[in-house]
């Protein structure tokens, strides 16, 4: 049963994509660590972290695509799940600092000492333990998505209304996390990380491993997403996107279908956030900004929603563009991003991958038509003979 589920996921393009990701996971760290800095093949550490960041964004875009591209739920609040996963990881990293903080308090993180707190808030307990923190990376975004989805999908909030509520959700979290008494470091967030699992966060080796983990987790989530999309459940998902009432009148519980997908997607976004934080070295409430979530939508649209490879390509391309533009022409980046979204909507409504797929299909259909035209004269007598029988 499970093997069938996974086996179905391994369709041509997905296998290639997973293979490429796994090669990258080995090759990039190897070129970073094993080649001398003056070699032409050497990849500098800052680039490893930068690419690692792109891979996290790609995973976030993939998560969004699962709900938007396949199920038709345009979430404008996926950044919230990403940030929550990031905070869970950040809390673990804070606990690892121990007494090495500026104030040298053996129990409390610096910002709590600064706020004159006497003991650790209850929700910080357990985050010393890596396994617990990693569980929270999945549980916290998943739980929020479950509660949110439970109410929204049961009361059949759809379309633009749902998008607005998701946006409100991430904005509410932004405001909440800004508050110092929330206990998550307020405005400054969590930073000054030292170790992860005993390895220094800043070290080249650690960064290389984090990069490899990002690529591997992206490959793994791609596999899961592909298995979901290619199962009968995935076909139901597309049905919900295209004709929700038909699905309902066929006897499916649309609210459960949406809820499951939303929770899985939120967990993937959480994983992306958790991998992102140690690579950039900080998590602050800015990650909840509504604009961040909207950017994810742009990446997905550019790459091609409703395809699994599209959002990955979109996220990497747009962010590479962003890195370039913000370095070269910082003042025009936002215009470029806005223009890109308009251009894609107007000229590539299916996104890059969607358009390429469409083109290939059209060519195949044309070839088939030409073949059929050629074959008609030869096939006709056969058809007649069959009819005679």
């Amino acid at each position: 049963m499970i093997s069938g589920f996974v086996f179905r996921a391994l369709e041509g393009k997905i296998v290639v994509a997973i293979a490429i990701l796994l090669v990258i996971a080995i090759l990039v760290p190897a070129l970073n660590l094993l080649t001398p800095p003056d070699s032409a093949l050497h990849i500098p550490t800052y680039a490893v972290s930068l690419f690692g960041k792109y891979l996290c964004y790609a995973l976030l875009a993939l998560a969004l695509d699962l709900v938007w591209g396949y199920c038709g739920i345009l979430s404008l609040g996926h950044g919230a799940f990403f940030a929550l996963g990031g905070y869970a990881m950040g809390m673990y990293l804070m606990r690892q600092i121990g007494s090495r903080g500026v104030y040298g308090n053996p129990v409390l993180p610096d910002f709590m000492v600064f706020l004159n707190w006497k003991e650790l808030p209850w929700f910080w307990h357990g985050f010393d333990w890596f396994v617990f923190a990693m569980a929270m990376v999945l549980v916290v975004p998943g739980l929020l998505a479950f509660i949110f989805g439970w109410f929204a999908f049961r009361s059949r909030v759809n379309g633009v209304y749902l998008s607005i509520i998701t946006q409100a959700m991430t904005y509410a979290l932004l405001l909440a996390f800004f508050r110092n008494d929330m206990g998550f470091g307020g405005n400054n967030g969590l930073t000054d990380f030292k170790d992860i699992l005993g390895f220094p966060v800043q070290a080249d080796g650690t960064r290389a491993v984090l990069f490899a983990m990002s690529a591997i987790m992206l490959a793994f989530c791609l596999l899961i997403a592909s298995a979901i999309v290619r199962s009968k459940f995935g076909k139901v998902l597309v049905g919900v996107r295209d004709a929700e009432s038909r699905v309902r009148f066929l006897g499916f519980r649309v609210e459960n279908i949406k809820l499951f997908t939303f929770v899985v997607s939120a967990m993937m976004a959480g994983i992306a956030g958790a991998l992102f934080v140690p690579q950039v070295g900080i998590i602050n409430p800015g990650e909840f900004a509504p604009a961040n979530s909207i950017e994810v939508v742009v990446w997905t649209a550019v790459g091609g929603r409703g395809t699994l490879i599209g959002p990955i390509i979109g996220a990497v391309l747009v962010n590479a563009g962003k890195s370039f533009f913000t370095g070269a022409f910082p003042e025009i980046w936002l215009y470029a991003l806005g223009g890109l979204f308009i251009a894609v909507t107007l000229f590539l409504p299916k996104g890059i991958v969607g358009t390429v797929q469409h083109g290939l299909k059209a060519r195949k259909a044309m070839k088939a038509a030409v073949e059929a035209e050629k074959g008609r004269d030869e096939a006709a007598p056969v058809a007649q003979a069959q009819a005679a029988e």
Binding site: G4, F5, S231, K235, A243, F249, G251, R253
Partner: protein
Amino acid sequence: MNTISETRQKSLLYLENVSVSFDGFKALNSLSFVVEPGELRAIIGPNGAGKTTMMDIITGKTRPDTGTVLFEDAIDLTKKDEADIAQLGIGRKFQKPTVFESHTIWDNLELALNRDRSVFATLFYTLSPEDEARIEEILSTIRLSHRKDELAANLSHGQKQWLEIGMLLAQEPKLLLVDEPVAGMTDAETAETAELLKEIAKTRSVVVVEHDMGFIRELGVKVTCLAEGSVLAEGSIDFVSNDPKVIENYLGR
């Protein structure tokens, strides 16, 4: 006095004194309507007579303000939602053909198949030989076997109507509600659809809402004429079409 409870016991679908209003407009006005097992019934009536509202109530999309809606004399449909009612065995075809356009015809039928519809059952579903045979069978019933691998979007309007009927068949319903199945069909398609529905009605009850009087004549079944939310006349097509009230309210216009 016994006749009422007897009718109810025998019925597959039983509506009594059902009323519903939207913003003061009475869409249904103490409507009573009974469908027996294995019956093929046609419903006619002018626009706004409440035909679609009646279907909405039966399938759980709309809740009635008052009245009784029973399925198989035991199940109160007003307490159930669309998915429950579909699983009980009531299938519905919409006025506008609604199929999954970005899926193949085969996949459309596979999704409609009457199997466990829970999240995990669908995640781990694999096509069994019986299911495959059943889909093939439906494909030939709706005359789309040769196009099974094409996208539903590529079908003509009439073929989409058939595919939707096929999807309803895959659901194995006891009762089929069909809203304007021949709207936009050619004469030949209309005749074929009449045959198809008659064929289907051999094994289950079918309620057809239609404006096309020629089509209803072709079906040759009991006709119910609705107007202003209640039943105006009921009987054979000749009886109903000669009823002065029906002529005044519907046919004469």
